[in-house]
Amino acid sequence: MSERIEFRLSGSGGQGIITAGIVLASAALYDGKNAIQSQSYGPEARGGASKAEVVISDSFIDYPKATIPNYVLCLTKEAYRAYGENANEDITVMADSSIEIPEGKKALTAPIIETAAKEFRPMVANTIALGFIVGCTGVVSQESVIKALLERVPKGTEELNEKALYKGFEFADTVMGR
């Protein structure tokens, strides 16, 4: 089951975590892979913590949710406390730079929230995060993620989102030393 790649994306409600998950899964389909996206529902979807999971595989996906995720994205401190803090060494935490992460933890960070607010609009933090994830992991092609993204974002925000996605790719190049 090693070809199975699992993502858990977490943040606060309204950050577009679920949309990011849907775009990631959709991009995987464009690459000819299988993907299943799921999300947490309920009161937590009303401004509290928000969580989406994406499983991507070349073969049939049986169990639809993350078992032990390969990657955990945390956009807020609360999300990090819930899903990042206890992540074992097999898990790569991908987090916003505002979150304090202890030394020695396997983590990749980027100033996602701040960049979205200052250079774009706060609503595209999820898109920057998505670019960061795809850039760091290469789990789907950049071409597919752009296509999937442009299909899912509100009309009139395509250009803004595409630029935000490229910003995420840039951050990935930086942390990966490319």
Binding site: M1, L29, N34, D58, D62
Partner: protein, 378 residues
């Protein structure tokens, strides 16, 4: 791999797309989590596709209105979840005795009562069979993937039209809410209800005794007849005749029971040489498949039977397996429902162990593996 041309769909969305493909032209319902996306998608798509959507004042009105729509000649559907499924039971029975085609979707959430509205469960399996009072036929599909939500919703319409009876599509919140790639099949079989021929005498409630089921004329199509939830004669008028009562009840049950082999569906994985058999449905079957593969990689000869129709239950398939596999494990997201049907069928051929789960979460792989291994090692 490389299965291209797939579109990413949510389970509930796939259900509506399947329904529209099957020819659904009428939806009446009441919103309830975790099925509301079905109503929302139907509201969006039906007016585009020559159909009609109406949100009624409550769950009971939802199914009653859908039955009315069907009797007017349109393929009709309603969808709900636990509390609403309970409320719909009386009129589900009405559609059975009045022999009106209808598809009812029930997305299972944890109960009883309001329970956990956004969490998966499998607590309605027995309600699907015994929920409405009196003897009646039950056809209930249980999709375990987004693709199956599409396929089995189509089949549900086909069976409803063919057998003139309500058909259930039930699944759990996990399958309803997850998104996966679905390749929309180019060709699907669509069955439309038979209509009576002009100039011939028409008995809308004719006892067919294994022959083709009586056609159903739409109200307004020129045939005038009476439809009632009372025991009735072949014309549809109320009857108190004991012989007719017996004939009518046997007819509505037998028209489906006699075709069980045609209706029943199940899937088997790794059962050829299995020494331990899992029987599981829906999202639990997906966890079980993961666990079975894991066990196989460790040399444990595990297999899996997935009932795709919970009712009628794949009795023959299970009986064949239990004649040679003597350890059966039934994981369920309830305190034990399917397990009773499994026990009834295997009747001592095998030991049957229930793994229950009522936390409101999907069965996790490690948890099922550990519990099942403990049973296997006994």
């Amino acid at each position: 791999m490389a299965e291209k041309n797939k579109i990413l769909l949510q389970g509930n969305e796939a259900c509506v797309l399947g329904a529209i493909r099957a020819g659904m032209k009428f939806y009446a319902g009441y919103p309830i989590t975790p099925s509301s996306e079905i109503a929302e998608k139907a509201a969006e798509l039906l007016p585009k596709h020559g159909g009609k959507f109406i949100q009624m004042e409550d769950e009971i009105a939802g199914i009653a209105c859908a039955i009315g729509g069907s009797l007017a000649g349109l393929k009709s559907m309603t969808a709900t979840s636990g509390p609403g499924f309970s409320l719909k039971q009386e009129n589900l029975g009405y559609a059975c005795i009045a022999e009106i085609p209808l598809v009812v979707v029930n997305i299972m959430r944890m109960g009883p009562s309001t329970g956990l509205p956004t969490s998966p469960a499998q607590g309605d399996l027995m309600q699907a069979k015994w929920g409405t009072h009196g003897d009646h036929p039950v056809i209930c599909y249980y999709p375990s993937s987004v693709r199956e939500m599409y396929e089995y919703t189509i089949k549900a319409f086909n069976m409803a039209e063919k057998f003139r009876t309500p058909v259930l599509v039930m699944t759990d919140e996990v399958i309803a809410h997850m998104r996966a790639g679905v390749e929309i099949p180019e060709e699907v079989e669509i069955i439309d209800r038979k209509k009576p021929e002009w100039g011939k005498s028409y008995l809308p409630f004719k006892v067919t005794d294994g022959e083709e089921i009586a056609p159903l004329a739409a109200f307004g199509s020129g045939f005038r007849f009476h439809v009632t939830g009372l025991a009735h004669d072949e014309m549809g008028f109320p009857s108190n005749n004991p012989l007719r009562n017996d004939e009518m009840i046997r007819h509505i049950c037998a028209k489906v029971d006699k075709c069980n082999d045609e209706i029943v569906e199940s899937a088997e994985h790794f059962t050829d040489d299995a020494e331990v058999l899992f029987v599981a449905c829906g999202s639990v079957a997906r966890t079980a498949l993961y666990v079975v593969k894991q066990m196989r990689s460790e040399g444990v000869k595990a297999g899996l039977l997935i009932p795709k129709t919970v009712w009628p239950f794949p009795e023959k398939a299970l009986k064949a397996l239990s004649s040679r596999i003597h350890k059966i494990i039934v994981p369920e997201m309830n305190m034990g429902q399917l397990v009773y049907e499994v026990e009834r069928i295997v009747k001592g051929d095998s030991t049957v162990t229930l793994l229950e789960k009522v936390t409101g979460e999907l069965f996790k792989t490690e948890e099922m593996y550990n519990k099942a291994m403990a049973v296997i090692k006994q």
